[in-house]
């Protein structure tokens, strides 16, 4: 899976707007076109949606394997020509909300209520929450004791 992105800035958004304008005006250079075509940090595109969907799927499966039972329905096959429907946007956020409700890890961002007029801060928040969930689960795994290590009635220092 690709790394989560949660450090977008206004400068990234400005760059995306600039390249979009140049593309529409036909003044974009070859080098800029490659940047525009492959990865725009300041824009939400199908790659963003697939990345979030893959992380939701990964975390959901992991939580289920640890008996934090929940069900999500992430979409991971967005293509460039797709448009997100209102219903899909609600599912997109509900998937993350479901994971947030499944386990009580410390979160450092707030999930937006809607994908309507999504800001770069909200886009960061969505992926930061997924990062926090993954961190919390990893922290939990690191503290588990194992069969054969624990003796009843004695202290244990790992």
């Amino acid at each position: 899976m690709d790394n989560l992105i949660y450090d977008r800035t206004q400068a990234d958004v400005n760059r995306a707007i600039e390249l979009n304008s140049k593309y529409n005006a036909g003044t974009i250079t070859a080098e800029e076109l490659e940047e525009w075509d492959n990865f725009l940090k300041g824009a939400i595109d199908y790659q963003t949606l697939n990345r979030v969907g893959e992380w939701v799927e990964y975390l959901s499966n992991k939580l289920n394997s640890y008996s934090y039972l929940q069900t999500t329905s992430p979409k991971t096959d967005w293509v460039e020509t797709d448009f997100m429907s209102v219903e899909q946007s609600l599912t997109y956020l509900q998937n993350i909300r479901t994971l947030m409700n499944a386990i009580n890890v410390r979160l450092t961002a707030e999930l937006p209520n809607s994908m309507n007029k999504l800001t770069f801060e909200s886009a960061n928040a969505i992926e930061k929450i997924l990062f926090d969930l993954d961190t919390g689960i990893t922290n939990m795994e690191q503290t588990w004791k194992y069969v054969g290590e624990v003796i009843s009635g004695e202290g244990y220092f790992s």
Partner: protein
């Protein structure tokens, strides 16, 4: 008792506070470096959940989606299993189910009726006759009441929107009841007219109320000293929360829609088991135990859930051990019965059990209890 297992969730894993012999302290972070040849089985939620035996615990955040399909409650439960095995338990927390309900004589228990009162009733024709489902029995005002209004009132635990009723209401003789009304209120003081009668309804017939609001109180009222017999007040259509889902259906992944053999109350916590044909209610928690109590002592007993019914009693034929009445424990063997509808001033249901205050006997003694959930 089935436990909800939780893993520890550290924000700083591996961090320990070390206290040296000189009582100075320091924080250290310790990481495993033991290069195991076998990863080992970890003590975690998944392990203990499985050890509890055939229990698939639906996480509390996963609430069944409730819908109403032609009068049948359907509970869609997303259990992340590829297949469900017959006989295994599922813990189900019933959600609220709001919708429009229609049908002949919706039971008042289902509507959450708390109280039926009347400002007058005859000794032989009580208010209860108006809601007993029997169109031959009736509520009548007391013969002592010759003037003024007469009313019979229903109070519900949660405000609902009654839309249709079947009624049989008859005055003595052939005179009609032009000022008889059905009204709604949310405080029992301010009333809104929902239906005005213009004639007798001598056979059970359905009327439609002019009602777009939820009310906790509904009443039939008639004025000017008229003699009127209310044979039946039945609700046949309403909107609101369903307190009891009668034989709902549950969809658990591979099984599809299957009916539940029983009734589920909204907000209730149930263990269900599929027997090959239906879901059955496998268990309502029942906990028994004892506790000691002495004079002027307050005892809180934790049974792990909020019980619906608690019975407290003493050992039989044990003078020093008997006690209890609600006013204060005394030397007679009368069990105390506590429900979530009734709490006395010495006993009460709590969110995890019950409490009792002793204030009488000079000796210490043992009491027994049965706490029933569901």
């Amino acid at each position: 008792m089935i436990q909800d297992i939780k893993d520890r969730l550290p924000t700083l894993p591996g961090r320990w506070l070390v206290t040296h012999e000189d009582n100075s302290t320091e924080y250290v972070t310790v990481a495993r470096a033991d290069e195991p040849t076998e990863a080992g089985t970890s003590f975690n939620r998944a392990l203990f959940s499985n050890l509890q035996g055939d229990l698939y615990t639906i996480d509390r955040s996963v609430t069944p989606t409730a819908t109403v399909d032609n009068g049948t409650v359907k509970l869609s439960v997303d259990v992340p299993l590829t297949s469900y095995e017959t006989g295994k338990l599922i813990r189900l927390r019933m959600p609220s189910v709001n919708g429009t309900w229609a049908g002949d004589y919706i039971p008042y228990g289902r509507l959450g009726l708390e109280e039926i009162t009347a400002n007058t009733e005859s000794t032989t024709n009580s208010r209860w006759n108006a809601i007993d489902g029997n169109t031959s029995t009736y509520w009548a005002k007391s013969s002592d009441v010759s003037s003024g209004t007469a009313w019979i009132q229903l109070k519900f635990g949660t405000a609902i929107k009654i839309k249709k009723m079947k009624v049989r209401i008859v005055t003595s003789g052939s005179s009609y009841i032009p000022d008889g009304k059905i009204q709604g209120s949310n405080d029992g003081t301010s009333w809104t007219d929902l239906y005005t009668f213009s004639e007798n309804i001598s056979t059970l017939s359905e009327i439609t109320l002019n009602n777009n609001l939820n009310y906790s109180y509904y009443r039939f009222i008639v004025g000017t000293g008229r003699t009127v017999n209310v044979y039946e007040l039945q609700v046949t259509e309403y909107e609101g929360d369903v307190f009891w889902a009668y034989n709902p259906q549950i969809n658990v992944n591979s099984l599809g829609w299957v009916s539940v053999n029983g009734m589920l109350r909204t907000g209730g916590d149930y263990l269900l088991r599929y027997n090959g044909a239906q879901w059955e209610i496998a268990q309502n928690p029942v906990v028994t135990g004892t506790f000691g109590i002495t004079r002027n002592e307050t005892i809180t007993v934790n049974v792990g859930f909020k019980p619906k019914l608690v019975i407290i009693y003493s050992a039989m034929n044990n003078y020093s051990g008997v006690a209890v009445s609600d006013s204060s424990p005394r030397d007679y063997n009368i069990p105390i019965i506590i429900t979530d509808q009734y709490s006395g001033h010495k006993v009460a249901i709590t969110s995890t059990g019950f409490s009792i205050i002793e204030s009488g006997s000079p000796v210490a003694y043992t009491l027994y209890y049965v706490a029933i959930g569901g």
